[in-house]
Symmetry: none
Subunit: 197 residues, 4 copies
């Protein structure tokens, strides 16, 4: 978890990060609905009032936490993205990086999964979150143009490419299943079969 905030903020606001980390860890343990502001404050070793210095209200705290994590994930995946890499390799690499990130920061990931299916999601500016993936979108479009990838809506391509990973990797959904690197590799191969022409 330590690595995470270094990627979001350079300034020293230690307290803001203490609050965000407390939020993530608490939501992971007792769930979204049960995570009250005062409990988060206690875990962050901070007064409830202090939270309202850094965040406008509870919604803002939760949404900010989500956006921070998603931004961080996007950066992790797109880091060193090279437009010259063959499309298949690029797609596979992204999958591996996604898995690596989730594996490294499982709690951050579980938080986003809970968040994404709650009404809070409606408060998020989706475009802002997807912006970093622009180069990837362009690369995929090239693949379509070159008749390497099926000419179907992007939503379909991404759903088949990376959704299985999000799912398989979530222990809440698969208590008796362990997503190993090998499993991810198989999944990516299947995904490639799904999207390739």
């Amino acid at each position: 978890m330590l690595v995470y905030y270094r990627c979001v903020r350079v300034k020293d606001d230690i307290k803001r990060n203490a609050i965000i980390e407390a939020t993530v860890s608490l939501v992971n343990e007792i769930g979204f609905a049960a995570s009250s502001v005062s409990k988060i404050a206690k875990r962050a070793d901070v007064s409830p009032a202090t939270i309202y210095i850094y965040f406008k209200n509870k919604d803002d705290l939760l949404v900010s936490t989500y956006v921070d994590i998603k931004t961080c994930l996007a950066n992790a995946i797109m880091e060193d993205f090279d437009s010259d890499t063959p499309i298949r390799d690029a797609v596979f690499l992204a999958g591996k990086k996604l898995y690596a990130y989730i594996n490294k920061h499982p709690k951050l990931f579980y938080f986003t999964e809970q968040f994404a299916n709650s009404p809070y999601t409606d408060l998020v500016d989706k475009d802002k979150i997807e912006a970093p993936f622009k180069p990837m979108y362009d690369r995929i479009q090239e693949g379509i143009d070159q008749k390497i990838i099926k000419d179907v809506p992007f939503e379909l391509l991404f759903a088949h490419l990376y959704l299985p990973i999000f799912n398989l990797v979530n222990p809440r959904l698969h208590p008796n299943f362990k997503a190993t690197p090998e499993i991810i590799d198989i999944s990516m191969n299947m995904a490639w079969d799904a999207i390739k022409l």
Copy 2:
């Protein structure tokens, strides 16, 4: 919504169903966390105390609602399942039935999606929910044995087969995307490419 409970329960307990329907509709409107017992009671036109006659507590109400819906969905998908249907057709038919159900009962579906990523899921007996799918599992295993389908864990097969549909169909996740029957058909074709040998 009317059709739904007829498939799960016997007639008389109208009140129980009123409560469950109120739960579903309220969770859809104001979300999981904000749906209190008394609000549900008000919407069901029932005293809060009455809810505790039909359900042990709030957790039980929520979990029961989820299990009811999931059971109903399973029945809808597995209805008229024929072990003699060619595997590819069987798989496609299930996808279509899944889509049809979601399309017919969107609110029931959104409820389960919110529920599935909350800690409440941990209280659910997963085996009981997956039981109705046993014939389908067997059929897929046959496909593997006959070298029609890739020999990979079931989790991978199902993740690639049906997860994209769950995702594409959810307006919360795709506010600007409409999953038409054609889209579903494309998705199933891609899924088949993913799982076929």
Copy 3:
């Protein structure tokens, strides 16, 4: 204080009155701003939540208390009002009844004085409160028509008639002055000089 609520409600809602009485006595002791719902609840020997069964919110509690008292005061003053009494006697009698009521229920009176100069007053339906005084208004108008009373706006007449009593009787405004029946009698005589033609 016991007499008071009997005049407002015939039903047995003891609890509502316990809450209202607690409100009045607390506001008298520690003031308007410092009187929190939980303190009122404690004094009424009731859970804070219970207050919200009888009143929509804190505003409603305060406003209802005020309206109850004002209505009660109006009834006390207008009780046995006789349109045939000579105007001067009628006016004096009302002054005496006003004083008698304040003297009997000083705490109710102090509450209304605090209330009347707070922004809460804006929430009160003034017409409803003044309705019981209609016969008195009519009687005064007769006095004007008969050239007994000065032909000036009612507001001026009432301000000169009864405002001094409200003021003199308030120990907050006159810590070292005691408004005796004799004082009130003098005040009424002065008031009569002010309004008579």
Copy 4:
């Protein structure tokens, strides 16, 4: 509002006056109870901490504001007071000056009215506030001695003289009534009838 503080304090402490003005305007807008120190600070464009440099605490701020205004009002009324003016003229002149001040600084006036009926009043040194009126008291006593004015306690005289003005002029108490100079003149004439022998 600008004229006001010049009469109370010396030039330099601009900040103190900014705070007091913010207090007055805020109390007028959102009321006494809702006016918190931090809101006042924000309106005065000052840090909450700064307020505690100029005032011991919130009570002190409120009381000081009140005393400032009341002192200013007293000065305005007693300015150019001439002991040789005939008593009736003196009394009328004071009423006019009172009205003029209220009309010029309505917000200052509304603040004092809210304040006067709150428990804060108990913290005020009444004698200090009434001191400037000593010459007026003396003049009235002369009137009594000369058998021009009724020989009744001063409280009664003042209550009948000026209270109606305070009341009539307050839009909170009379939303549909406008106190014009003519109304004030009538009121003063009535008041004179009330106190004259």
